[in-house]
Symmetry: C2
Subunit: 208 residues, 2 copies
């Protein structure tokens, strides 16, 4: 298809698509002459993936670029691709390091759960930092709440990952990114709805 | 305390604090003469809340401003403050409207769950839009997965909201924001860890 059709079917302005091409986020089309290129279904699909990562998951283009590079690198095992997508979500190098106490608390949690999370995982740092932030606001996150979260997430994650692993190999890496990065907002929105429901039921009892 | 101490205790540069003051995110201190002002513990606390909303929850300052305005408006009932914080997370007016099919699917889900989520809630739109985005990538989110998410989130949300409602009234609104906005990243990080664990166990069986 030509650029005009790619724009129409993706719903994106030509200028945006050209920006992604220049930026390397979208592979070049098949050049037919000096100024015309033809594009394919995979181009359309890639555009939709970029938009979903930006619009639904709220990621920055820089982060999207790193995730797509991992998807495109066929030498990487699936576990590594999932890891890369994950690390991009959790990492924030510019933020202060977490306290040792929070780091140890996260280590103890994972040890208690017997979860296999690598020792240098960005998630350990991100969780410890979040706990520090909440503590600075006098909001103590109890071990019970963390255990509740873990108990709620374990079956969900197992189902999500096994659906990815069981898909056809050529789709598996893209599915891994969708299943890990793009289902996260879905779960968060369901949690907000559950909170709206709980808040609506409790507020009838007359609390401010 | 003076500005220098506020900067030291919050870990934020004076320039950043002055920006928040000019921007109205941080209330003015007590003016002592033309160029000096004195600040208080609530100022320090507000700075920490702003940083947590930006660094941990990844919100933009514009969104933080709207949430803080709801916290500061004592005329608003708690349920409304939680709602405002929520809507800020889910809303994205610039994005295309979801399809009618997805809207109806979300309506049916909430009906099936008997959750009280207002008919014009931004969450309904956000979830429908996320489903559309995933569908455009040929990723069908099954009813079973949505039901799993709902089953996992219901007890978590109930515990979270009841801990907020039971706190002292003067802290309740701030706690509501922390408990809804800042615990969301904590839960997401726990999910990523659970996925890393599941992926690590499954990848040993030799899938790419």
């Amino acid at each position: 298809m030509w650029m005009s059709e790619l724009s129409e079917r993706s719903g994106l302005p030509v200028a945006t698509i050209k920006f992604y091409l220049r930026d390397g986020l979208l592979p070049a089309g098949e050049a037919l002459g000096a100024t015309r290129s033809r594009y394919d279904e995979p181009h359309l699909r890639r555009l939709r993936l970029i938009r979903a990562l930006v619009d639904v998951a709220g990621l920055r283009l820089e982060t999207v670029r790193t995730i797509l590079a991992a998807v495109d690198d066929e030498s990487l095992p699936l576990h590594t691709v999932i890891g890369t997508a994950h690390v991009q979500l959790s990492s924030a190098d510019s933020l202060p390091a977490p306290t040792g106490a929070s780091r140890r608390r996260v280590d103890r949690l994972l040890c208690r759960l017997r979860w296999r999370v690598s020792a240098d995982s960005a998630h350990r740092v991100a969780l410890a930092r979040a706990l520090d932030s909440l503590a600075s606001l006098d909001f103590a996150v109890s071990d019970e709440l963390l255990d509740d979260y873990a108990a709620a997430m374990r079956p969900v994650a197992k189902r999500e990952v096994s659906s990815v692993v069981s898909s056809a190999p050529e789709q598996a890496t893209e599915k891994a990114v969708i299943g890990t990065v793009l289902l996260e907002p879905v779960l968060s929105i369901v949690r907000r709805m559950a909170q709206e429901d709980a808040s609506s039921r409790m507020s009838r009892r007359g609390h401010r």
